[in-house]
């Protein structure tokens, strides 16, 4: 592990400028009443003290992405013969995501197992993932919110897994620790000084934030408990009664990786696009025949919770497909609480 570096708050714009000279830099900025990731421009004021409303998911996995374009035509030599030209590019822009909370970056660890797996490697995802570096900001005690539960899912407010550089707010600035080699390269910048003297303070900040979260309940039983509740319609009716079946929880989730594919033809040419999908929508499992295996919001919420806390961990060495950022709770129009549902399932299994 490289030595701890330090950057004073007033030097931060210098560092951001030098990063922005080499790549796209996305920082959390206030827009209307929300905080979203936008390209850094000199003068913009990044928001580091609260978690962004929308996670940096789109940096690697855009809300809508063109997979290829096509052009249909006719062979000029033989007009009866149709021609088809495909234009595809997996090229990704070098990007630095700066100032996300560690949980937002950790979400990609759940993506990686699906899209960089041996079975179905996804060239678009892999290219974007390799082109992106995450500089995250550990939470101070004051940033820990009522909806935070990263400690439930084997993480914590200063968990650098998924990050390349971990910053920690200290008096007057931030300490910076490289987590990966990609991250270490970013720290070779004149704006950063040696931070050994600040290391203890940073450790104290991290410990204080962890302290605020308190003890996590044991949810090790959740995979089995959720499976056991699979056919309990009344249980899922009770959990989903208030859900309005919108997609806020899924679209704002750093770990929700499902997509849909649509074609948009325009005359003789067209585009094939991949866009985020949400399992809370009726259309998610709607089949061409008109049959829908998940016709009600109870079926759909069961899938969302089950996938994160049961089916995925069962397939992936116990890794829970949730980073505990709490956006699904905080941004839900009716405050559906996934923590409560998991606990209810565990309690139900205990009888």
């Amino acid at each position: 592990m490289a030595a701890v570096k330090y950057i004073a708050s007033d030097k931060l714009p210098d560092w951001l400028k030098s990063l922005a000279a080499k790549s796209r830099v996305l920082v959390p900025v206030a827009e209307g009443g929300g905080v979203v990731f936008r390209p850094y421009a000199p003068g913009c004021r990044p928001v580091f003290d609260s978690d962004a409303t929308a996670p940096p998911k789109g940096a690697v996995f855009p809300a809508c992405q063109e997979l290829f374009r096509y052009e249909q035509g006719k062979d000029p030599e033989d007009p009866g013969k149709p021609t088809l030209k495909l234009i595809a590019s997996t090229e990704a822009e070098p990007t630095v995501v700066f100032g996300a909370k560690p949980c937002g970056a950790r979400g990609f660890l759940i993506f990686d197992r699906v899209y960089i797996g041996k079975k179905f490697p996804d060239p678009y995802y892999i290219a974007a993932r390799e082109a992106t570096v995450f500089v995250t900001m550990a939470c101070a005690a004051a940033n820990v919110e009522n909806t935070c539960f990263c400690h439930w899912v084997g993480s914590g407010p200063a968990d650098g897994s998924g990050s390349d550089v971990l910053l920690t707010p200290v008096a007057g600035g931030y300490t910076a620790e490289a987590v990966t080699d990609k991250g270490a390269a970013l720290l070779e910048d004149p704006a950063l000084a040696d931070g050994a003297a600040k290391a203890d303070e940073a450790a104290a900040v991290k410990a204080a934030a962890r302290e605020v979260l308190g003890e996590a309940p044991d949810i090790a039983a959740s995979p089995a408990a959720l499976l056991a509740a699979f056919d309990d319609a009344d249980f899922w009716r009770d959990q989903s009664d208030k859900c309005v079946s919108c997609g806020a929880c899924t679209y704002l989730c750093p770990t929700c990786y499902c997509f849909t594919i649509t074609d948009e033809p325009k005359g003789m040419s067209g585009r094939r696009m991949r866009s985020w999908d949400a399992c809370m929508h009726f259309q998610f499992t709607l089949e061409a025949s008109g049959h829908n295996p998940r016709p009600t919001k109870a079926h759909r919420l069961k899938n969302r919770v089950g996938h994160k806390f049961s089916y995925y961990p069962t397939l992936h060495d116990g890794l829970v497909a949730c980073c505990g950022c709490g956006r699904c709770i905080k941004s839900c129009p009716v405050s559906v609480d996934i923590r409560e549902i998991v606990q209810n399932a565990v309690a139900r299994a205990k009888g």
């Binding site: 206030a30 009443g33 929300g34 905080v35 609260s50």
Partner: protein
């Protein structure tokens, strides 16, 4: 002859099958000269026109939309145009809040025998759209205006402040 020396603009017309489409036909048969910017879409009745047809047309870049149906009390389906009148008037008043000039949309009534009225409506409406020029596009709002919007310098509404 209309003064279309510049380039044509894109004007979309929604015409009912029974009166206005006939009126446009009468104008053509009578060889009444008309501007050529209008592209006509024939619909069964002005009551069939979902205001969303018009909104989508304008939002996606048409420079003008003209709707024409049977005169009130003359509807082939007795009352389709009465419903249409209410919807279209609501839409006309709604467009400016979106940032679309209300002059880009109009609705009127032309019967199958009114070839000359059709000629007049098309000419006046086309001139009106030419006076407004090509429609500004949502996907081409200037960076300057967006910066003003971001700064709340447009008089951004309400009490909604960044949390």
């Amino acid at each position: 002859m209309p003064v279309l020396t510049g380039k044509e603009l894109r004007i979309v017309g929604f015409l009912c099958n029974w009166c206005s489409y006939g009126g446009a036909d009468t104008a053509g048969v009578g060889r009444f000269g008309q501007p050529t910017d209008l592209r006509i879409i024939r619909v069964p009745c002005s009551g069939r026109i979902d205001p969303l047809f018009i909104a989508k047309t304008l939002i996606n870049g048409a420079d003008g939309v003209l709707v024409s149906g049977c005169h009130p009390r003359d509807c082939h389906y007795a009352e389709g145009n009465f419903y249409a009148r209410r919807r279209l008037e609501v839409l006309k008043r709604f467009l400016p809040i979106l940032g679309i000039d209300p002059g880009r949309f109009d609705y009127t009534w032309v019967s199958a025998s009114e070839g000359q009225r059709w000629q007049k409506v098309v000419t006046v409406f086309t001139e009106q759209i030419h006076a407004l020029g090509p429609a500004p596009r949502f996907d081409a709002v200037s960076a300057d205006m967006l910066a003003k919007a971001a700064a709340g310098a447009l008089g951004q509404g309400g009490n909604r402040v960044a949390a």
